[in-house]
Symmetry: C2
Subunit: 344 residues, 2 copies
């Protein structure tokens, strides 16, 4: 099972049994709008404040993922979940009613990768038959936490990204026949947990540049550990590098002899039409890769259009405290290998 220096390969791959996505108005107006399960026109989601709104998304996405899979809450043995906020309050208040034993995760925008990796590891080891992986972000909670009051109308450089208001939830479980009416199964065949990479980036309005080196490190580690190269995948999909980070990633990979130009995709670039929607470098936030996974990537795999992808959510590990103290912005990226195939 241990593969190479840092990866795990699953001989009897856990499945992604069902999944759901929810997002806000802006995401609904973007290129993936038609694929997202629930689009809420009011970014307060009927709640009193933004944090509660983000919690409401977590609950709705989790419940919908269960509903789509015909699974009851009590069948889920463990929950792996997180968000961007200090002390994970979106998650704590959003998942308390699920009453599921819970592992709180923080990996910045790489959280969905961390959650899927731990969920798959847990299922494959026989510790649980059904687990749930959830990650969310909300534009307004993130701006409040990391940047400026919204009413201040702060100008944003072109390298800045726009935090996605959205949540993705996926049920990861063992293959036991009860997997709904899926034509193709979605298997997690391996994971490459990332390490923290700090190249000294210091511009919090250019997180793509801060995260790209971590993504490169995890991709190279994945190739090395599994003895594969870019031709093994239909797509290598980073979380929220945006336009600036994508260029860096492609350049760095090319220097190492890998041309990812045609197979690289970035959730942050896909989720918005940056010209029409004024989102500059693209989308970001835990919800960016989580929503794109559940609304776009998994359906593409399920339909058989793609056979195998490396899903690689990317995270920028900073807080306003560390940033204001002049620290750099380290990055991290967790790789999850997802494959589609007919039921065995």
């Amino acid at each position: 099972m241990q593969r190479g220096k840092a990866s795990i390969g699953f001989e009897d791959p856990p499945l992604i049994i069902s999944y759901a996505s929810i997002a806000g108005k802006k995401e609904g107006e973007g290129p993936l709008g038609a694929c997202i399960d629930i689009i809420e026109q009011n970014d307060m989601f009927g709640m009193d404040n933004w944090e509660q709104a983000e919690s409401a998304m977590q609950k709705q996405a989790a419940d919908l993922a269960l509903e789509k899979g015909g699974i009851r809450r009590r069948e889920i043995r463990y929950l792996f979940a997180g968000d961007l906020l200090g002390q994970l309050i979106a998650t704590s208040f959003g998942t308390v009613d699920l009453e599921i034993p819970m592992f709180g995760l923080y990996g910045a925008c790489s959280t969905m990768g961390e959650a899927l990796a731990l969920a798959a590891m847990t299922v494959h080891a026989g510790y649980a038959d059904r687990t749930l992986a959830v990650a969310s972000s909300h534009f307004a909670t993130a701006e409040k936490q990391f940047r400026f009051p919204l009413s201040y109308g702060n100008q944003r450089p072109q390298s800045a990204t726009w935090t996605v208001t959205g949540c993705g939830a996926a049920v990861v479980g063992k293959a036991d026949g009860k997997i709904g009416n899926m034509k193709e199964t979605l298997r997690i065949i391996g994971v490459t947990p990332g390490r923290i990479v700090d190249m000294g980036a210091q511009d919090s309005m250019n997180m793509g540049a801060a995260m790209a080196p971590a993504a490169v490190h995890t991709i190279r580690q994945n190739f090395e550990d599994f003895g594969v190269d870019e031709t093994y995948y239909d797509r290598i999909i980073t979380g929220d590098l945006g336009e600036v980070g994508r260029k860096l990633l492609l350049d760095m990979m090319k220097q190492g002899g890998s041309d990812l130009t045609n197979i690289h995709m970035d959730c942050g670039i896909e989720i918005y039409d940056s010209e029409k929607q004024d989102t500059h470098a693209g989308g970001s936030g835990c919800g960016c890769s989580a929503v794109t996974l559940c609304a776009y990537i998994l359906p593409k795999l399920r339909s058989g259009e793609w056979k195998r992808v490396l899903f690689l959510p990317t995270g920028a590990l900073l807080s306003t405290v560390s940033f204001n103290e002049g620290r750099s912005i380290p990055g991290i990226a967790h790789g999850v290998m997802i494959e589609s195939g007919a039921m065995a």
Copy 2:
């Protein structure tokens, strides 16, 4: 391996191979001072600010745990670590130099339980031969994050706890002969991951009351899942309930028919002499249970004085944002069953 509703029992228990603790001056003057590996007289730990000081503790504790076990950094396959700060900056900056693939965890003061549980699950499944679990807190970073500027000299009610400046690190690995010169092995025989329990507590100066119901829930779940009662353990050790939370815990358990009076211990009560040190209800913070584990609990098990304990770090899931929005303080507690015994 799945035990009952929420627990995992390990047939071939992973071992705690080595461990180390580091703490500040105040902790050094407390009852456990003589047991802590490194006591630093200056709470800045030679750094420019408190956050960097906390990061320095993480690095020192991790390196010392490795050194004590005769283990090199590159032998550690995965790191499970966290702290109390927003976006886990103490951990990100403290562990980046270890260059170990990393799972960032947030469970408030329950983090050491979450880290040990995931580390043991990972080792037992064969995903790694050696992992490292780390958790830290720092009085000054926590006060800055959650309460008032230190120079403000804020008054504290008797129910308040004092955040421990300290870090504990433990190497969890498989039993393969290379376990240093330990007389008795320390085995993680099972885990009971906790769920979030929200009883509506709203007093952030009385976190013990907020966390006690979660501790009760996890203890009961552990008893039920393993078919045991309090007589199974030499000690049931909560993280940082303090004096107020301890009373609540004992009362609630007694109502359910379990008298824990003589076997319950709380790390927050042990780590300070509350009368002499003016720490009111006791210690708290991720570092409270992590330091007490590595400085006091594991040595007691290793010496054979205790045979089996339920280590149960407790966490209060709040942020200043949720608190100021009038939200309650949910709690969580993760249970880790640790047993000592002669080498097989």
